[in-house]
C-alpha cells in the first residue's frame, strides 16, 4: 500500500505574520521560564486557554478583533497591528472566494442538468443556420429570452459554450457529447476539473491542520469492492450527519471521495467476455 498525505504541523508558508509573532512570544517566555504554561500565557492575553491553544495550532481563524485585542496585550504598536490585520485579511478572502466559486459551480451544474434547454442551446449552436440572438433561440425553443440568457451565462461559466466572435458561438462540450447523457457527463466532468483546481489551491494555501488531502494506492480482491463501496457510503453519511448537526456554521468545505481501479484489468476482462449489447446494436445498424 502506498499512501501520501499531509503533515499535521503547519509550516511557515501557511502561518500568518501575527500567528508567527504569537508563537514566538510564547516560545520566548518559555525560554525565560521553563515552567511558563499555556494557561499563564492565556491569562496574560485575557483569553481562554483552550481558545489560545487552538489559535497557536492554527486551528482557529484570527479575526481582526482578536488580533487587535491580543496585539494590545502584547504591547504592539498600532501600525504593526494594522499590518497584521491586513495580512490576515489577504489570506482569508482567497479561501472565501474559492468556496464561493465551488458553490456557484455546483449550483450551475445542478441547474444545467435540471433544465433541458441548456443542452438544446448547444445543439442549436451546432446548426449551420444558427442565429446568435437570444430572441431567436427563445422562439425556436419555446422558452423566454430571460431563460435563454440565464442558461447562456451558465454555459459560459462552466466553459461549455464560447462566444469567440459576435457572430460565432462554439459548443465546447467536445465531439463526444452527442446526446444528453454525454452532455451531462461533460458537465459533471467540467465541475470535477474545476473542483480539482480548487483542491490544488487549498493544498497550496490552506494550513494542513485545517484540511485532509491524502491518497492511497492499494491492491484489492475485486469481490470486496461492493463491501468497500458500502463502507464509503456509510462513512459519507456519518460525516454529513456530524457536520450538519450544527445549527450555526462558519466555513464551507468540499468533500471529495474517489475510489476506482487504476488499471484496465476489469475493463479488458469485460471486453474479452464478448461485445456489449450497445456494440451489438451498433454493428446491427451498420450492416
Amino acid at each position: 500500500m502506498k499512501t501520501t498525505g499531509t503533515s499535521t504541523n503547519p509550516g511557515d508558508a501557511f502561518t500568518s505574520v501575527f500567528l508567527q509573532r504569537l508563537q514566538a512570544e510564547f516560545e520566548r517566555r518559555r525560554q525565560v521560564n521553563a515552567r511558563y504554561s499555556l494557561r499563564a500565557f492565556a491569562m496574560h492575553l485575557g483569553v481562554d486557554h483552550s481558545t489560545l491553544s487552538q489559535i497557536l495550532r492554527g486551528r482557529r481563524a484570527l479575526t481582526a478583533r482578536t488580533i487587535e485585542r491580543l496585539g494590545a496585550r502584547l504591547g504592539l504598536d498600532r501600525d504593526t497591528v494594522a499590518a497584521a490585520v491586513a495580512d490576515e485579511a489577504r489570506r482569508s478572502p482567497n479561501i472565501a472566494a474559492q468556496t464561493g466559486e465551488v458553490r456557484r459551480l455546483a449550483a450551475d451544474t445542478a441547474n444545467l442538468l435540471a433544465d433541458w434547454y441548456h443542452w438544446a442551446i448547444l445543439e442549436l449552436v451546432r446548426l449551420r443556420d444558427f442565429v446568435p440572438d437570444s430572441r431567436w433561440i427563445a422562439q425556436v425553443l419555446g422558452i423566454t429570452v430571460d431563460e435563454v440568457n440565464v442558461a447562456v451565462a451558465r454555459l459560459l461559466h462552466l466553459g461549455l459554450l464560447e462566444m469567440s466572435a459576435p457572430d460565432r458561438w462554439t459548443d465546447r462540450c467536445g465531439d463526444s457529447a452527442s446526446n444528453f447523457e454525454d452532455f451531462s457527463r461533460a458537465a459533471v466532468q467540467r465541475l470535477s476539473e474545476q473542483v480539482r483546481a480548487l483542491s490544488l489551491a487549498a493544498a497550496r494555501d490552506v494550513p494542513p491542520s485545517l484540511r485532509e488531502q491524502s491518497t492511497t494506492t492499494i491492491a484489492v480482491r475485486t469481490e470486496r469492492i461492493p463491501a468497500a463501496l458500502g463502507c464509503i457510503a456509510r462513512f459519507r453519511a456519518e460525516l454529513l450527519t456530524l457536520l450538519e448537526s450544527d445549527a450555526e456554521r462558519d466555513d464551507v468545505y468540499q468533500l471529495e471521495i474517489g475510489f476506482f481501479p487504476v488499471t484496465r484489468i476489469q475493463s479488458n476482462k469485460e471486453t474479452d467476455d464478448g461485445p456489449s449489447s450497445d456494440e451489438v446494436a451498433d454493428s446491427g445498424e451498420e450492416s
Partner: protein, 118 residues
C-alpha cells in the same frame, strides 16, 4: 485612458417586475430591441451613466453590477485572479460587438469588465 466605470445593471430575479418598478418610480424607459433582448434603460437625462436590467439566476441574489471599461479583458482577468478574484464569465464577444467578462472580487462582489466593439 484610465479604467472608468461606464455602465451599471440590475440583476433581477423578475426582470419584468424590476423594469416596471423603475419606469414607474423614475420615469425611465426600457428597450429590449437588441440581439440579447437586453433591457436597456434610458433615464431621460444626459447626466450619469447608462444602465440595464439582466435576469439573475434563481440560485443567486438580486444585485446591482458595475461595468468597468478596460483595454484588455483577458489581461484584466489574469490580474484579478492573481489578486484573489475568481472568474465567473470568461471573455465573451457579445452579438453587439462588445467583449465582456465577469469576475468576483475577494469580497464576493461580481464586477463586469468590457471592451467596446469597434
Amino acid at each position: 485612458m484610465g479604467r472608468p466605470v461606464m455602465k451599471w445593471q440590475i440583476l433581477a430575479k423578475n426582470p419584468d417586475c424590476a423594469a416596471q418598478f423603475y419606469t414607474r418610480l423614475f420615469g425611465w424607459s426600457v428597450s429590449a430591441d437588441n440581439p440579447l433582448g437586453y433591457r436597456m434603460i434610458d433615464t431621460g437625462s444626459s447626466k450619469g451613466i447608462p444602465g440595464g436590467i439582466w435576469p439573475a439566476p434563481p440560485d443567486a441574489p438580486s444585485f446591482v453590477q458595475l461595468f468597468v471599461e478596460v483595454e484588455d479583458v483577458a489581461a484584466t482577468l489574469d490580474q484579478a485572479r492573481e489578486l484573489g478574484g475568481n472568474i465567473v464569465i470568461p471573455p465573451a464577444k457579445l452579438p453587439g460587438g462588445d467583449e465582456m467578462a465577469v469576475f468576483v472580487d475577494p469580497e464576493g462582489i461580481p464586477i463586469a469588465v468590457y471592451r467596446p466593439g469597434a
